[in-house]
Amino acid sequence: MTAPFASLIRFYLRAFYGFSDAARVPLPPGTAAGTKAARAKRILATIGLALLVILVVGDIGFIFGASYAAMYAALAPAGLQSLLLLNAAISAALIAFVVGFVTALSTYCLSPAEGSLLALPIGPRALFGAKFAMTYLADAALSFIMLAVAALVYGLGERPPVSFYLYAILVALASPLVPLALAYLLLVPIMSVSRFLRNRNVVLVLGGILGAAAALVVNFYLQNSLARAGDAAWIIANLAGPDTILARLGAVYPPAGLAARALAHAAAGRQLDALGAAALALGMGAAAALAVVLIFGPAYAASLPAFGEGRLKRIAKSDTAAYIERSFRRSPQLAALFLREWRLMNREPVYLINGPLVIVLFPVIIGITMAASPEAFAELEGVAHALGGGPAKALIAAALAAFLGTATSIAATALSREGRALPYLKSLPVSARSFFGAKLLHALVFTSIGTVLGAAAGAAALGLSVAETLAALAMALTYGTAFDLSALWLDTAYPRLVWETPTAALKQNPNAVIAILADMAALGGLGYLATRLSLGLGGITALYAGGAGLIALGLALFFPRYAEKRLGDIEL
C-alpha cells in the first residue's frame, strides 16, 4: 500500500507500545565509551525483552499444547481428530473477538492529539485502516498461537505433507480478521451515537473492566479445557455429534468451518480442496476487514475529535478572589509530594485499572475461578494438609497476601510515569530522599492494603488461627516492603521516560513485567524453600520476616544515595 499508510501504522504501533525512536538514532563514529555503554545497555534491554516475550508465548503455547494434545488423544481413536481443528478455529475466533473488542475500545482514541491527525492529508479510511491494522497486529498473536499450536499437535499425530503447515500459518493469520471487523462493526456506531462514551476516561475505564471480564473468560476457558483434558468421554460427548455447541458454532460462523476444512484437506493431501477452502476463508476475512474499513472510515474519523481531557469550567469573575482565598493552603513538602503521586495515579484510568484497582479485580478473578471450579479450592486445602499441620497454611496465606500487596506496579513504574515532566521536577528544591520517599510511601500504602486484604481472605479461607494470621501478615508485609524498594530501584535504574501514552509507562513498561515475574519466582522459590526447611511457624516467620526485613533495611539505607546520583545522570 501507499507509504503514508505504512508510516501511519508504524506511528500507531509506536504510540501503542511506546517504542522510542532513540534506539534508531545512528551513532556518530568514534563516540565516547559512555555511548558504547549506552548502546550495550540498549542491546541488553532488547535481549531481555525478547526473552520475556519468548517466556510468555512459550507459557501460553504450553497450556494450549497440553489441552490440544489431550483432545487429540481422546478424538483420534474414534477418527474424529479433525474436530480438534474446528475447535481451535472457533476458539481462536472467539478469543480474537473478545480481546480485539477490548483493545479496539481502549485504543479507539489513543491520545487527544489523534484528532489532529485529521488535519493531515490523510483520508478517514486510511486513518481507520491503520487503526484496524494496529489492533490486528497487537491482538492477532493469541489466536495465532492457538491455531498454530493446534495445527502442530494435529500435524505431529497425522504426519501431513509440509504444505499443511503453510496452510496453517495462512489460516491462523486470517482468523482474527472477521472477529475484528465485527468488533469495529459494533464499536464505531456505538461511539458515533453516544456522546457519553466519547470521553477518554469513560472509554478507558470501560475498556479496563471489559478487559478484566475478557481475562476471566479466557481464564475460565483455559481452566475448563485443562480440567477436562484427561476426560475422553466428556470431550467426545461435547465435541463430536451434530448438536454440540461446536457443531452449531461451526454452522453459524463459516470462516472457522472453512479454516478447519482447509487444514483437514491439506493434511489428507487433497491440495485443490485445501486451496479452495483456504482461499475462501482468507477472502472472507479480507472482505470483512475491507468492507468495515471502507464503510465506517468516515464515521470513525468523525467520532474522534470529541475525545478530550476534561472540560474547562470557568469560575465567575466575582467569585475568583474568594475561591483563591479558600483554595490555597500550605501542606508539608512530603505530604504534597505524596498527594501528587496519589492523584496522578488514580486519575489516569490506565494507571488506576492496572495499578491500585488490581487489588480489587484480582480477588474477584480468583473468587470467580474458585467458584467455577471448587476442586481447585479443595486442592488448596489438600496441599495444606499434605504439607502437614505446621506453618503450611500460614505460608499459603502469606504468599497470597504478599502477591496481592505487590501486584499494583506502583513502585516498578514510579519514575517512568513522570515521563517528560521529570526535568521540571528536577528543577524544584526537593531532595531525592523526599521525591523518592513519597513514591515509596505511595507504593507501601497499596502494599499494606493488598497485604491485609490478602491475609484476611487467606485466613478466612484456610481457617487460620490468630497467631498464624499475624505470622502471615508479618512475612507478607516485610516481603512487600523489600519488593517495593527493589522495584523502585529497578525503575530508577532503567526508567522508561519517553512515551506518548500512559499505557506505555505502566502496562507495557518492561519494569512492571519484570517485577511481577520476579515476584512470582521469588514467592515460588520461598515456598519451595519452606518445604525443604521443615521449620515450625515461629522459625519460618522469624527467618522470612527477619530476612525480608533486613533486605528492606539494607535497600532503604543505600537507595537514597544511589537515587540522587542516578537522578542527576538522567539526560532528558
Binding site: 565516547a32 470557568r314 483563591i324 504534597a336 509530594l337 486519575r347 517528560r420 528544591p429 531532595s431 542527576g568
Partner: protein, 249 residues
C-alpha cells in the same frame, strides 16, 4: 545573580556536544537575553543552570550558592519555566499551584496574594478549578509562568517563554520582566527571535553550536556593524551565527 563558568555538556545518549565551555555572568537588576538558532544549546544551558542536567565540566552558582554543593538552596533561589508546558494534565490548576508552592514552602498568605495577582494579570484566575488537561497551550504556558513566581524568587529563568502566548499575554510577560528587573531581580530568558530580545534586553549573549559568540549590550552589538552601515540587528545576529558556522550559507 547567575554565574556560569566554563560549562560543557555532551549528551551520552547521542554523543552530541551541546554546550562547549560556556561562561556567563548575569547581574541583578538586568534582563538578559540568551539568543541562538534552534539546536544551539540554549535549553541544555538552561537545564544545567537550573540543576536539571549535571554539567560534564564547569560550575553554576545562583546568588553565589554553588549548584553542585548546595542544590536545594540554589534551586530555592530561582523560578524556572521550562520549554515543555505539558505538565500534569490530570491535576487541576489549583492543585498544581498548591503543589509548587508547597515545594518552595510558601506561607498561606503570600501564596494567595501572589496567585491572585499573577493569575489575574495572565487572565487564568477563572480557570483555576479546571484540570490542566482542558487548558489550551497558551493557558498552560501562563500557568507555568504563574507557578514560577509563586515564591517571588530573586532570579527568573525562562526557556523560550513567548512561544504559544497571545499578544496580550506576551505584553504582560514583558511588563513583568521589566518590573522584576527594575526592582533589582535578575531575569534570564532564551529566545530564537532577535526582535524579542531587541525590545527587552539590557544585555544579550548569542550562542551557536554550544559556544557564546557575543556577549554585551545591544549598542555594543550595533557597534560591530561593518563600515557603519545600517543593517538590522536581525542581520547582525544571523551574520554572527553564520560566521561561527564557517561562512554564509
Amino acid at each position: 545573580m547567575i554565574h556560569l563558568e566554563a560549562l560543557s555538556k555532551t549528551y551520552a545518549h547521542s554523543g552530541t556536544k551541546a554546550v562547549d565551555g560556556l561562561s556567563l555572568d548575569i547581574r541583578d537588576g538586568e534582563i538578559f537575553g540568551f539568543l541562538g538558532p534552534n539546536g544551539a544549546g540554549k535549553t541544555t544551558t538552561i537545564k544545567m543552570l537550573s540543576g536539571v542536567l549535571r554539567p560534564d565540566e564547569g560550575r553554576v552558582a545562583i546568588d553565589g550558592i554553588d549548584m553542585a554543593q548546595k542544590p536545594l538552596e540554589a534551586k530555592a533561589r530561582f523560578g524556572y519555566v521550562g520549554d515543555n508546558p505539558e505538565l500534569f494534565t490530570r491535576l487541576k490548576a489549583r492543585e498544581f499551584l498548591n503543589f509548587i508552592a508547597d515545594m518552595y514552602r510558601v506561607p498561606d498568605d503570600a501564596r494567595c496574594e501572589r496567585i491572585a495577582s499573577l493569575a489575574g494579570r495572565f487572565e487564568i484566575a477563572d480557570a483555576l478549578a479546571s484540570p490542566i488537561g482542558s487548558f489550551s497551550r497558551g493557558m498552560k504556558q501562563k500557568l507555568c509562568l504563574v507557578a514560577s513566581l509563586v515564591h517571588d524568587p530573586a532570579n527568573w529563568i525562562l526557556d523560550e517563554p513567548m512561544v504559544g502566548l497571545d499578544p496580550q499575554a506576551a505584553f504582560t510577560l514583558k511588563e513583568l520582566m521589566r518590573s522584576r528587573a527594575a526592582s533589582g531581580r535578575c531575569v534570564f530568558f532564551s529566545t530564537h527571535v532577535m526582535e524579542v530580545a531587541e525590545r527587552l534586553c539590557d544585555r544579550i549573549a548569542v550562542i551557536t553550536k554550544g559556544r557564546v559568540v557575543f556577549v554585551g549590550t545591544l549598542d555594543e552589538l550595533r557597534d560591530r556593524r561593518s563600515s557603519g552601515g545600517d543593517e538590522s540587528l536581525e542581520r547582525l545576529f544571523l551574520d554572527l551565527v553564520e560566521d561561527a558556522s564557517g561562512g554564509r550559507v
